[in-house]
């Protein structure tokens, strides 16, 4: 099992900053979302997939996947992912059948491809995804439901095809997810000998400040407390207007 980071946690960060964050947090994989500012766009526009993979390897990090949220992004991601030796994770779109079709199109362009399963995906959709005969990726939506029950069902049906797991609500949000079954999920993965990736990602942009802090990108919380002068507030004097009685 390889724990990693989604570029969605710092969508404005370049590849080198993402690698520095991984080093600080002991993370060993990077899941790059198409459209984020990591700069891995191919030789015509930015860093090539091969160069990015090489730079990441030098930092002890695996570029584990490129994440596409739509058909237009599939076409951008496929050649870059192929050069990086990482699959394109195909998500978004109107239906699971459409994802399967798109994933086959990515594979036809010479890249690895995996079909993304959303949260508590229905068994019917899971069976449609399995018809792709490709790897599967699961987006675990921790705030959206009970993870433990879904994990048992999805892991049982998907078996060894499940290679990419993204936890929406990991990192600094973990302390808010008690009782949602993340511990059960991780136990099940360990007992199954899962050796794919587990990627930490935000569940919502609401937690942007918490993530910035957790990733070591900010010195404070933006409220001025870091540089506040404690001499302006004294707790030693008498409290006025409290318990004064009549």
């Amino acid at each position: 099992m390889r724990l990693g980071l989604s570029s969605a946690a710092a969508p404005d960060a370049g590849l080198d900053e993402l690698l520095a964050i991984c080093a600080r947090r002991g993370l060993a994989a990077l899941d790059l979302c198409v459209g984020d500012a990591h700069g891995v766009e191919g030789p015509m526009y930015g860093l090539s997939g091969a160069a990015a993979a090489e730079r990441a390897r030098g930092a002890g990090v695996l570029v584990s996947a490129f994440r596409s949220g739509g058909e237009g992004q599939d076409l951008r991601a496929a050649p870059v992912a192929a050069a990086a030796g990482a699959p394109v994770l195909v998500g978004g779109g109107p239906s699971m059948a459409a994802r399967v079709r798109r994933a086959h199109a990515v594979a036809a362009r010479g890249a690895g491809a995996a079909v993304v399963l959303d949260g508590e995906v229905s068994t019917a959709d899971l069976e449609v995804a399995l018809t792709a005969d490709l790897e599967l990726a699961w987006d675990v939506d921790v705030p959206g439901g009970s993870v433990g029950g879904a994990a048992e069902r999805i892991m049982r049906i998907a078996g060894g095809r499940l290679r990419h797991i993204r936890i929406l609500g990991g990192g600094p949000e973990a302390s808010m997810q008690e009782g949602q079954g993340v511990g059960e999920l991780m136990s099940r993965l360990a007992l199954a000998g899962y050796d794919g990736t587990v990627i930490l990602a935000p569940s919502s942009s609401r937690y942007r400040v918490a993530w910035q802090h957790w990733l070591g990108r900010r010195g404070g919380w933006g409220c001025g407390s870091k540089s506040a002068d404690p001499s302006l507030v004294s707790l030693d004097g008498p409290l006025l207007g409290v318990g004064g009685g009549a």
Partner: protein, 78 residues
Amino acid sequence: MTNARILDVRVIPPREKHPAIFQTFGALEEGESFVLVNDHDPKPLRYQFDYEHTGQFGWEYLEEGPTVWRVEISRKGA
């Protein structure tokens, strides 16, 4: 999937960490092991193992910080 059993508890909410670890340990057969990954030295866990599973477990540090700690925890024979 391979037989590499790794339990990375850095992603697990604090209150669920120890139950997840003991659930994983409880499912081990004699002689089997798993690698616990954590972001600090899991010494308190070691004390809990000492108390609850005296003589039944092995504990070997594979990596000791400063960012990541890895400990191989195995189940010994009764």
